[in-house]
Amino acid sequence: MGRFFKSSIGRKYAMALSAFFLMFFLLQHFAINILSVFSPDAFNEASHFMGTFWAVQYVLQPILIFGVVYHFVMGFILEAKNRGARVKKYAKNNGAANSSWMSRNMIYSGLAILAFLVLHFIDFWIPEINTKYIQGDMSGLLGDGDGFRYYEELVHKFVNPLRVGAYVAAFIFLSLHLMHGFSSAFQSAGATSMRKEKLQLFGKAYAILIPLGFIFIALFHHFNH
């Protein structure tokens, strides 16, 4: 199977598999974050569970990091190879006549998402790792010990309008990436049912509703606190 993943089709499968994992992760991330709108307590409980449960921390989190890094690195490698497959560009190329803007610009929407992830890691992931694994505080409690810290930290991040703006812009790029990426992953994985309207429709709904939900969460906390 080593040769398989070095082949063009093997890499398509690998990109699709990492995409499936990332899309599933995105769904569960949204499911937990939306709790912050309806119930801060439920959000705190879910965050504490995800942040301290061993299977999440030591199994799923490393898989997630590998998935993210692999998807980006392989995306860049494939883009470089693909550009090399046409050394001389066309003087006139009417790409809009036969394909969507989203499908032709996955590298740019991907780069925007990567830039967002850097900000997101600085905002949440690095402080979280610092608190838990460097300072050794696994309690999940606020400094004064008065309840969990997760909801407070989340709300605090969405005070700055510039950060909220960056998050909204990033989720628009995420939506554009998913608009092509969702169906593309199924096509790469060899799915025949992708031709059927229902799955196409589900992909479009996912690509719009999930990023829109994240935008709603960011705006909700910005305007309510």
Binding site: K81, N82, A85, Y90, S103, R104, G190
Partner: protein, 248 residues
């Protein structure tokens, strides 16, 4: 109609090319695009200039020889046709038409608008066939029942004329629609199943070796294909390739 043509001129594979402007007059809207090119070449020959080299053969849309990237699209703006079946009625009087060769590292320019598509031949040689051994007791192909659905799908895949419009249109210069069609054509039929594992592995290996890009599922190939070869063939090739590697 009177037209301005911007055409890629390149004397040979070693020399750098450039876009050159030409004027053609009194072009009938009923002419095919290649007939318009013939008119231009007659003008050039009469003036003592080198005519524009372009590929053509049957001029009835079945040989896959004519190519040309016209106004940013393989075989021009019409759908489901090759350049020989593209008619000048698709353009307006006074239009400027940009004409370039199919561009891909695996399709090097030989001269002007003529490209070397022998990479497709080498992919076909790697597995795009069935071995019919005449042992004396070979079963008549017509005696093996095939479902109507499979027969139709195999026939649809077999309509690929190997023109290379898929490669030319793909932003990655990927040949996966072509290879997908050739793999599918045999994978769907019992006669093709015998060598299915080796076929898909060898054809994909040759495709990668030729320097084509990776498919990113934009669907441009399917839209520009003069024979309407479906993306479903790429999905089928992917499944065939996965299963071939799992079986190893």
């Amino acid at each position: 109609m009177n037209l301005t043509l911007k055409i890629w001129r390149q004397p040979n594979a070693q020399t750098k090319g450039k876009m050159v402007d030409y004027k053609v007059t009194e072009i009938s809207e009923h002419m095919s695009f290649l007939e318009m090119m013939d008119v231009l070449n007659e003008q050039l020959i009469n003036k003592g200039e080198e005519p524009v080299a372009f590929d053509h053969d049957c001029r009835e849309g079945i040989c896959g020889m004519c190519s040309m990237f016209i106004n940013g699209e393989a075989h021009g703006p019409d759908r489901g046709v090759t350049t020989c079946q593209l008619h000048m009625r698709m353009f307006k009087d006074g239009d400027t038409i940009t004409i370039e060769p199919f561009r891909a590292k695996a399709f090097p320019v030989i001269k002007d608008l003529v490209v070397d598509r022998s990479s497709f031949d080498r992919i076909q040689h790697a597995g795009g066939y069935i071995s019919v051994n005449t042992s004396g007791n070979t079963q008549d192909a017509n005696a093996i029942p095939i479902s109507k659905h499979a027969a139709d799908e195999a026939m649809d895949a077999a309509t690929c004329i190997g023109c290379g419009a898929c490669v030319a249109s793909c932003k990655n210069a990927s040949a996966m629609l072509f290879v997908g069609a050739k793999v599918s054509q045999y994978a769907l039929l019992p006669q093709g199943r015998i060598e299915a594992v080796d076929r898909v592995k060898n054809m994909v290996a040759q495709m990668d070796l030729e320097g084509f890009g990776n498919c990113s599922n934009t669907g441009a190939c399917e839209i520009e294909c003069p024979k309407g070869i479906s993306l479903e063939n790429i999905a089928r090739m992917n499944r065939e390739y996965l299963m071939a590697n799992v079986k190893d």
